[in-house]
Symmetry: C2
Subunit: 219 residues, 2 copies
């Protein structure tokens, strides 16, 4: 298996079919809009039967959005875990960027897809849902990293809760950066978040050894 096309006719044909389907799907949606495109249209345009379409993709949306995000990149995860950068969030977002599976064939589809997604609330929702597929993994990685840097008096359970909460925030952050048009400076988000949060919650940073007392929820 030296090159790429040394994988047997079968696999090459499958790749070609998948690519044809995705290309047709993206092109058709770009032209007619999500709701006006039916699975039958995509099938006709890509030359496969409807049944085959559903053998390749479980839903119409899946074909439009392309291959589902897989696992986090192991190497990047390891880097993340040992990093000491104060800006954990930015590193986390970098980690998540590796989620969108891109290869030579599908590269051309990335940009149109982002246009489609950001213009269709329904698809945006679906994409967030897909991204949430790594929720558990993100939570776990966050936990490990936060645990390592945790104050001595912080219980593992509390660290667990914190990482879970942050993991829940991730889709929102991604969505925000998507909607802002990601032309914005990549590091800008963590700064923005820092500023916002210091005013949103009573950040009482006495020091790490003192137990953080919850500010009284007095009006």
């Amino acid at each position: 298996m030296a090159g790429g096309s040394e994988q047997g006719l079968r696999q090459r044909k499958q790749a070609a079919t998948a690519l044809a389907i995705e290309r047709s799907a993206v092109a058709l949606v770009l032209e007619h809009g999500l709701d006006a495109v039916t699975v039958d249209m995509i099938c006709a345009a890509s030359g496969v039967s409807q049944r085959t379409f559903f053998n390749y993709y479980r839903t119409k949306d899946a074909a439009i959005l392309g291959a589902a995000p897989g696992k986090l990149d192991e190497r990047q995860v390891r880097e993340f875990l040992v990093s000491d950068s104060p800006d954990m969030l930015e590193e986390l977002l970098g980690l998540l960027a590796s989620l969108v599976p891109v290869n030579a064939d599908t590269r051309e589809l990335v940009a149109p897809r982002m246009r489609i997604i950001s213009e269709s609330p329904a698809l945006m929702q679906k994409e967030m849902e897909r991204l949430s597929g790594v929720h558990e993994e993100v939570a776990e990685v966050l936990y490990l990293r936060m645990r390592r840097a945790a104050p001595a008096d912080e219980s593992a359970e509390d660290t667990r809760r914190q990482s879970a909460l942050v993991a829940h925030l991730v889709p929102g952050i991604l969505r925000f950066s998507l909607e802002q048009g990601d032309g914005a400076a990549p590091g800008a988000i963590s700064g923005l978040l820092a500023r916002a949060l210091t005013r949103l919650v009573p950040v009482r940073l006495t020091d790490r050894s003192g137990t953080e007392t919850q500010a009284p929820p007095r009006l």
Copy 2:
């Protein structure tokens, strides 16, 4: 009684039908699970035709989830805007709690619904989507409040971005609190978030009482 039944037969019948549909939907899903319940089953159980079902609810999910969240409560919004509480987040969450429309008839359905939602990822997603319907309103309210308390050197544009970002975080926070089982202390979330965020992003804090700067977690 001058209460509710003085609205004419027509409206009373409609309310009864809607209630019957929602009750049947919730009961059936509780018994058989979301996927095993068809619209036809709900119709049979509530004694309406399928067409009528779809006259009342646009989708099957809508019937299960009940009336869609409306606008934020005006009075509470006004209170929120003038409040000086340091825990803005907690107040915000309180504001959002007013979103789920509850009246005497539907009160019994709230608890079962929460069980259903937290056990079904698909429905959880839909509920978040519904909650996101107030996204713009939340962003605007947040903006006004944050603008009021903004540092002198902060541009309106920056405040705008901050509030938008926080508004994007809201669904995640709600979801987190839902999944944790809301038995947890209601005020706990902002504390948790504060602790998590100080370690997630480089927070440079000039505390209001003193000048305490949080050193980023150097390991």
